[in-house]
């Protein structure tokens, strides 16, 4: 492979070509189809690993073709190759996880379509990261959006369709912002090729704000930071679990990838953009974390946690120093691994029990020790416990925020630390409710080897990369090569301060929850009647009287009553912080008023015609 150039295109062509093929194969034999998609995704993963040596020294251009005004091109840089390998790894895990998972749909839904879409989704994501030109990127970006839409709505339940529509509409809104940004960029600078844009000194000052904010919003919808995250907690739980793993594990990262690329690789933007992004990140960490704590749906909890973790990545890249970028990108990689793992783990839980409600789950650890072990590694990694990879990236992020020389840097640090505390809280809830305690829902099925492998592999990677993080560093070193400073500080009293801070935060939380005052009471005597199972979410936090049964997750709901954060939960429950709901509300009002004007009477319509004529005449004659 002397010139890997043209082979690089195989990364894109193979999954896209295999997408219809896998459908046809599935008509012949389901088994063949499963093996085929596994082999394709694994092959792409292996190929992307083999390409790493070639991008160490610089970018790899492998395809350019002039089509009219624009030049379609594809190329690989160290960062995009990292993304490609993550995409293919997770797609591989999803495709070995899926055959078992899909068995219950067999005969009811078209599973061939599922695999075909999965490969198309993969092709779209890979195309969106290896595109060397923005219009090309946009087309693949939309392919990714579209494939994800059909995957989210795959289960065909009313909820999944609703969530899918919300996802698609918000994504399209974002995509249109991106498109406007691309066209504006093209018109003002004359090129959309990344190589040429990177060589350009700066954006046209007149348009730079509008272009950059269009890109930030557009890519931000996919990256799901607060407050344009609202599609994520709906869409991720409703998708089939392997797809949730892909959405959270890698699709939102494609959005982050482009934010990082636009703001740190292509243009030298003013540092205030970085600060703004870091602050958005900090808010996202805390709000995502708080919302995750009270979830009772196993997948929704992890989905909110994804939002919180996206905040970490944004905070890191927003800080924009070598350390910050390194922390952000490594956290991106780590999050892909452990979040993929957690969603697949949750998928197994859903698969074996048939329920997503944490309150109905419990005691699965004895039945599935391998899965439990893997999930607990993912969970601890998410919580940032050493020696796992999550700790490693979070540690770099803390360091970056300490070194950040801005007035609000301490705020970032506090947000990051607090977010970490929150992540421990919600992931403990997840682990305890699902795997420990007494078993509440019997297992209908047991996970197959494919499922176990799919959670085992990322668990091993999480552990391995935590103990020996050298490959992580090596892989990101060429990415942040542009920024020279890359070292952290270690001050002993700082560490002591952290420990004290942690204790204080813990005490504060304890006070916040205020356990003593609101301890739960159980009715002593039920009169021989059966205890009724009552959905706690239904009456919390407003009604507190029907406490017949105490759930292990109950304690988490008491945080809702705390005055300090109660507003957040109320706002979330009533969709105040959901731009989608706000826009659709305005849209409905407008639609209603327009419809009211159409009463079906011919005379009114004729009045419109004549008044239209008068207005047009007036406009034409007064000039």
């Amino acid at each position: 492979m002397s010139d890997p150039g043209i082979y690089g295109l195989a990364l894109l062509v193979i999954p896209l070509g295999a997408s219809p093929l896998v459908w046809l194969l599935g008509k012949v034999s389901k088994k063949l189809r499963n093996y085929f998609s596994g082999i394709i995704t694994l092959g792409i993963f292996g190929f992307s690993l083999a390409l790493f040596p070639y991008v160490q020294s610089g970018n790899l251009e492998f395809f350019t073709k002039e089509v009219g005004e624009v030049v379609i091109s594809f190329g690989l840089g160290p960062f995009s190759l990292l993304m490609v390998s993550l995409i293919s790894l997770l797609c591989f895990l999803a495709s070995i996880f899926s055959p078992n998972y899909l068995k219950r749909y067999e005969g009811n839904l078209n599973t061939n379509k599922y695999f075909s879409l999965l490969l198309g989704f993969m092709g779209g994501m890979i195309g969106a990261v290896i595109a060397g030109e923005l219009f090309t990127m946009f087309v693949f970006w939309e392919l990714m959006t579209l494939a994800a839409y059909f995957l989210i709505t795959f289960e065909n339940s009313p909820d999944s369709i609703k969530a899918g529509n919300k996802y698609f509409l918000m994504s399209e809104g974002g995509a249109l912002a991106i498109l406007a940004g691309i066209v504006l960029l093209w018109v003002t600078s004359g090129t959309t090729q990344l190589a040429e844009l990177g060589a350009m000194a700066a954006l046209e000052p007149e348009f730079s704000i509008s272009i950059l904010s269009l890109f930030l919003i557009g890519f931000g919808v996919k990256a799901a930071f607060f407050p344009i995250h609202s599609w994520l907690p709906d869409a991720h739980p409703e998708a089939p679990s392997p797809i949730s793993a892909l959405l959270s594990g890698i699709m939102i990262k494609v959005g982050l990838f482009w934010i990082i690329k636009v703001f740190w690789e292509l243009f030298s933007v003013s540092p205030s953009w970085g600060s703004a992004i870091a602050v958005i990140g900090a808010f996202t960490i805390v709000i995502g974390g708080f919302l995750a704590i009270v979830q009772n749906d196993i997948k929704r909890l992890i989905a909110y946690s994804s939002i919180s973790q996206v905040g970490y990545i944004l905070m890191g890249v927003g800080i924009g120093t070598g350390l910050g970028l390194a922390g952000g990108i490594i956290h991106l990689l780590n999050h892909a691994l452990f979040k993929g793992l957690l969603f697949l783990g949750a998928g197994i839980v859903v698969y074996v029990t048939g329920t997503r409600k944490l309150d109905d789950l419990g005691g699965l650890s004895k039945e599935m020790p391998v899965v439990f072990g893997s999930v607990i590694i993912g969970a601890l990694s998410l919580a940032g416990v050493p020696p796992l990879n999550g700790f490693y990236s979070k540690w770099i992020l803390y360091q970056a925020s300490i070194d950040f020389e801005r007035g609000f840097a301490p705020f970032l640090l506090v947000a990051a630390l607090f977010g970490s505390t929150l992540s421990v809280i919600y992931i403990t809830k997840f682990i305890y409710s699902a795997f420990l305690g007494e078993m509440k829902t019997e297992m209908d099925r047991s996970p197959g080897w494919g499922m176990k492998t799919a959670v085992g592999v990322p668990a091993i990677l999480c552990l391995g990369l935590g103990i020996y993080p050298r490959p992580l560093l090596d892989s990101i070193r060429p990415i942040i090569g542009r920024i020279p400073v890359f070292e952290g500080t270690w001050v002993a009293y700082m560490a002591a301060a952290f420990l004290l801070g942690a204790i204080i935060v813990g005490a504060a939380l304890y006070a916040l929850v205020d356990l003593k005052k609101r301890s739960k009471r159980k009715p002593a005597f039920m009169g021989g009647e059966n205890e009724e199972t009552i959905d706690t979410d239904m009456y919390f936090p407003y009604v507190d009287k029907l406490d017949f049964k105490v759930y292990p997750s109950e304690i988490y709901n008491s945080i809702k009553k705390s005055k300090m954060v109660n507003w957040l939960y109320v706002a979330e429950e009533r969709n105040f912080i959901d731009p989608y709901v706000a826009v659709s509300w305005v849209g409905k009002a407008l639609t209603r008023s327009f419809r009211w004007a159409h009463n079906g009477l011919l005379s009114r319509y004729l009045v419109w015609v004549f008044s239209g004529l008068i207005v047009i005449l007036w406009l034409l004659t007064t000039q």
């Binding site: 009313p158 249109l176 639609t591």
Partner: protein
């Protein structure tokens, strides 16, 4: 060769009802019309790209009537013929249970003759005559089912259409009074020599309102949702797919661009009317529950895109930016072609839905992808195309329009175009939710089996929706769309062609 486009459908149109008086030969009628449209399609494809002129009776242009074939009219001819052919293919199966098919196909042919005439003629008054031929046959076709609702819609359409025609006729009268000629090319030469421009402005306003009624611009759109949803499905596809475009946008832009040389603020007016139609049409479509009504409102919105593209072209011509003007005109015409394909696809699809479920009410039906995967897939392609999702064709024409708007500095217009695109997606996602996905709801006739006669036309149009995206490629665009755009942009070329100056 050019008169054949009018003569063939005119002849068939008179012959079929005549034969029906003696013998009811449903199959024969359908096959005849299919052959007719197939022949016309072949003819328009053969003639494509040719520039020629036919003098009726051999009289020289300013006096006699002449048929002109240039880039724009050859594009429109192909669109008319293509959609008509597919529609007839669909109607052969779909309409087979109806009575009086001789009259149906006769009126259909008459409507075709009118549209071909409008597309070809180089004479304003002749254009009016053909326009009335097409319009009157469409009034009758809308009421073809003779139910109460259909008749009401037809009556409303008739009144509004007649008002529009009166405006157009008045406009022609004023124009003839002040310019002294009815030949479009001749008008463009003489119009600048007229000292008093006020009558020309008056007739311009009358034209915009008159043709605007035919093209269903906001606020002249009110007849369209009723008419297009009440007509028999193949006719809905024809009306939304081509009729409003040929009688409305094409005729108006022919007169304004080639004849009157865009007087005063007309381009700005067209642009903003387009933007308004786009937005308001889209917003109302959001609230519709009847599939065909939703599609009809969506037509208003989509016509806005076309008008906006053409209007922007006019603005850039008057600003002296020819390259951007060409791009904007290409965008408008590209969208015209695209909308013709996906809107007729969606209307035919709605006919298939009605066949399967017996109703079009979105709240009472659902899960069509399960019942009939083929129609589900084609319908999905149609909805994605119209919502402007790449790689389907609707995206590319919207992209061209957005590029032209931003390049020319019309940022608010670009914003409205993009925002409306999101609205479009919103109401088609509603259709996705209610109709395509989900559990099967509603009673299914004949176990949901639809015959090849229904789904083959759908498949043809769906393939067009994917394939027409290729028109974006500059090589193909240069052959197909650019001559059409230049025909509008370079008025002198048209004059040269007709008058031989």
């Amino acid at each position: 060769m050019l008169p054949l486009f009018v003569a063939i459908p005119l002849g068939v149109g008179f012959l079929l009802p005549l034969i029906e008086e003696f013998r009811e030969r449903t199959r024969l009628f359908a096959v005849t019309v299919l052959l007719e449209t197939g022949l016309l399609l072949a003819l328009s494809l053969v003639k494509f790209g040719e520039k020629s002129i036919y003098r009726l009776g051999g009289w020289p242009p300013p006096i006699g009537i002449n048929y002109v074939l240039d880039g724009l009219s050859s594009l429109v001819l192909v669109v008319i013929s293509g959609i008509a052919f597919v529609t007839v293919l669909f109607a052969m199966t779909y309409m087979s249970k109806y009575e009086n098919l001789g009259k149906f196909y006769g009126l259909f042919s008459l409507m075709l003759a009118g549209m071909y005439g409008v597309a070809l003629t180089g004479d304003v008054f002749n254009m009016y005559v053909y326009l009335e031929v097409a319009a009157i046959s469409s009034y009758a076709l809308v009421g073809f089912n003779r139910g109460a609702e259909e008749l009401e819609a037809s009556f409303k359409y008739l009144i509004m259409g007649a008002v529009g025609s009166v405006f157009i006729l008045l406009g022609i009268a004023f124009l003839y009074g002040s310019v002294g000629s009815l030949n479009i090319a001749d008008i463009s030469v003489r119009v600048s020599e007229v000292s008093d421009q006020s009558f020309i402005l008056l007739s311009t306003a009358l034209f915009i309102v008159g043709f605007g009624l035919k093209a269903a611009f906001i606020p002249f759109h009110s007849w369209l949702p009723d008419a297009h949803s009440s007509a028999p499905t193949p006719i809905s596809a024809m009306l939304s797919g081509v009729l409003i475009k040929v009688l409305g946008v094409y005729a108006l832009s022919r007169i304004l661009f080639n004849g009157l040389n865009l007087p005063s603020l007309t381009p700005q007016l067209l642009t903003w009317i387009g933007a308004g139609s786009m937005f308001i049409g889209g917003m109302i479509a959001l609230g519709q529950n009847d599939l065909k009504r939703l599609l009809a409102y969506s037509s208003i919105s989509q016509m806005g895109y076309i008008t906006l593209g053409l209007g922007m072209g006019g603005i850039f011509i008057s600003q002296g930016k020819p390259a951007i003007a060409t791009l904007a005109l290409i965008g408008g015409l590209f969208h015209l072609v695209n909308h013709a394909t996906y809107k007729s696809l969606l209307f035919l699809f709605s006919g298939g839905v009605e066949r399967i479920f017996g109703t079009r009410d979105l709240s009472k039906i659902g899960g069509i992808t399960r019942v009939s995967p083929v129609s589900g897939a084609t319908g999905t392609i149609g909805t994605l195309s119209i919502s402007g999702v790449p790689p389907f064709n609707g995206f590319w024409s919207k992209l061209v329009i957005v590029i032209a708007a931003i390049w020319g500095g019309l940022y608010p217009i670009a914003g409205i175009v993009l925002f409306t695109s999101a609205i479009t997606l919103a109401y088609y996602l509603k259709v996705q939710r209610e109709l395509f996905l989900g559990e099967v709801v509603g009673e299914i006739a004949d176990k949901g089996k639809i015959s090849p006669g229904i789904y083959v036309p759908l498949l043809i149009l769906a393939i067009c929706c994917i394939g027409l995206g290729l028109l974006y490629l500059p090589e193909i665009r240069g052959i197909v769309l650019k001559p059409a755009a230049l025909a509008l942009q370079e008025g002198s070329e048209y004059t040269q062609l007709v008058l031989g100056l």
